[in-house]
């Protein structure tokens, strides 16, 4: 089954996303920040990365750029609650950097799972 790396600094949300994807039989690896994500990324296991954007250490935009260097074919979904740079603008930057899809929080796990399946199909 496809592998997904979830990068999210909010522990409660990170576990929710893990449960939602594991329930659909995806192999899931999690990371609490960008630096951890880059350290835990395994090109042979991970097909898609779901990354928050505003995080300590390396942020989500750096995750997109650095993981793309490690595996150009990896798919990316960016998620964000908006904030400092204004609603949506970080997501716009993520799209510009090549994210395959972006989600504004809040969203339902079923919406995320459906999009993951579409992108990996």
């Amino acid at each position: 089954m496809a592998g997904v790396l979830i990068v999210e600094d909010d522990a409660n949300l990170r576990e929710m996303l893990r449960d939602a994807l594991e329930k659909r039989k995806f192999t899931v690896i999690t990371a609490a920040n960008g630096r951890e994500a880059i350290a835990r990324f395994r090109p042979s296991v991970i097909d898609l990365v779901v990354t928050d954007l505003l995080m300590p250490e390396e942020d989500g935009l750096m995750v997109i750029m650095k993981i793309r260097e490690l595996k150009p074919s990896v798919k990316m979904i960016a998620i964000s609650g908006g904030g400092k740079a204004g609603p949506g603008s970080y997501l716009l930057m993520a799209s510009t950097l090549g994210a395959d899809h972006v989600f504004s929080k809040p969203f339902l796990p079923s919406e995320l799972v459906q999009k993951v399946r579409e992108i990996l199909a």
Partner: protein, 266 residues
């Protein structure tokens, strides 16, 4: 690590900047609240949907409902921070004994310290009085103490909270002591310079965001500005952090924007 303060030509990392635009700050706070609430709502929506999908398995449903409650607790903590922040504008200041508020703070935080964290008080200058709203001062101390305890969560350690009377940089050797220094020294994981410079930013966390609101140190910064005080942070990765809150004593004006203390002044 040392908690001493040193003479520097510029404010050290983490110093509060009193030359700020309140409108910009309101936008920043609003953005921070929106970001955190959207994250909390995603968890609540998500666990609710997962619970519905797991309707036949009572144990799993219970697990998800507990996580929904955990997310709602964070939202409650977030609104609590905002209400305490707004109290500064809504309630008159009064003369407050810093030691009394600190004693309340220690009573409040000690139960959550666990077995591996000790909290000690060192009141070197008893009876110091400042002009403040008591609830704001309490929130200020709790936020700094909770951050210190989170930094020691994995390995344990000691949080020493001290109160001293000092004079700011404008005071000559014979001038009266005009400032309270409330210092929180932990033996936790510490922070590098880059992290220290970001800690007053809303929704920035120096560690894993577990239970925090992401607004704690921003609230600290806002309250300190309101009090006419300054924050000094001295931190080293792997060693610990000392957060010094400099608050003008009752009857003295706000501290200079870039005031600092020399060890010899103390």
């Amino acid at each position: 690590m040392s908690g001493k303060t040193e003479k520097k030509s510029d404010a050290p990392p983490g110093a509060t900047d009193r030359d700020h635009d309140p409108v910009d700050e309101a936008y920043t706070i609003a953005g921070g609240i929106a970001h955190d609430l959207n994250t909390i709502l995603t968890a609540i929506y998500g666990y609710s949907e997962l619970a519905l999908e797991s309707a036949g398995d009572a144990a799993v449903v219970e697990k998800y409902i507990r996580r929904i409650i955990g997310a709602a607790d964070r939202a409650k903590s977030l609104t609590g921070q905002l209400i305490d922040l707004s109290r500064g504008a809504l309630q008159p200041r009064q003369s407050v004994n810093i030691g009394d508020i600190l004693a309340d703070t220690v009573r409040f935080i000690r139960p959550s310290a666990g077995d591996n964290i000790t909290v000690t008080e060192k009141i070197n200058a008893p009876g110091l009085v400042v002009d403040a709203v008591p609830a704001q001062l309490f929130r200020l101390f709790v936020n700094v103490a909770v951050n210190a305890m989170q930094a020691m969560k994995e390995k344990g350690g000691n949080l020493e909270i001290s109160i001293d009377a000092v004079r700011d940089s404008n005071g000559s050797a014979g001038a009266p002591l005009n400032t309270a220094l409330v210092q929180f020294a932990d033996t936790g994981r510490g922070m590098d310079r880059e992290t220290t410079e970001k800690i007053f930013t809303p929704f920035f966390s120096a560690g894993d965001r577990e239970g925090g609101t992401g607004l704690g140190m921003m609230v600290v910064s806002a309250i300190m500005r309101d009090l006419g005080g300054a924050v000094r942070i001295n931190s080293k990765p792997g060693t610990g952090t000392v957060v010094g809150l400099l608050i003008p004593l009752s009857g003295f004006g706000p501290l200079d924007e870039k005031s600092y203390l020399r060890e010899t002044d103390r």
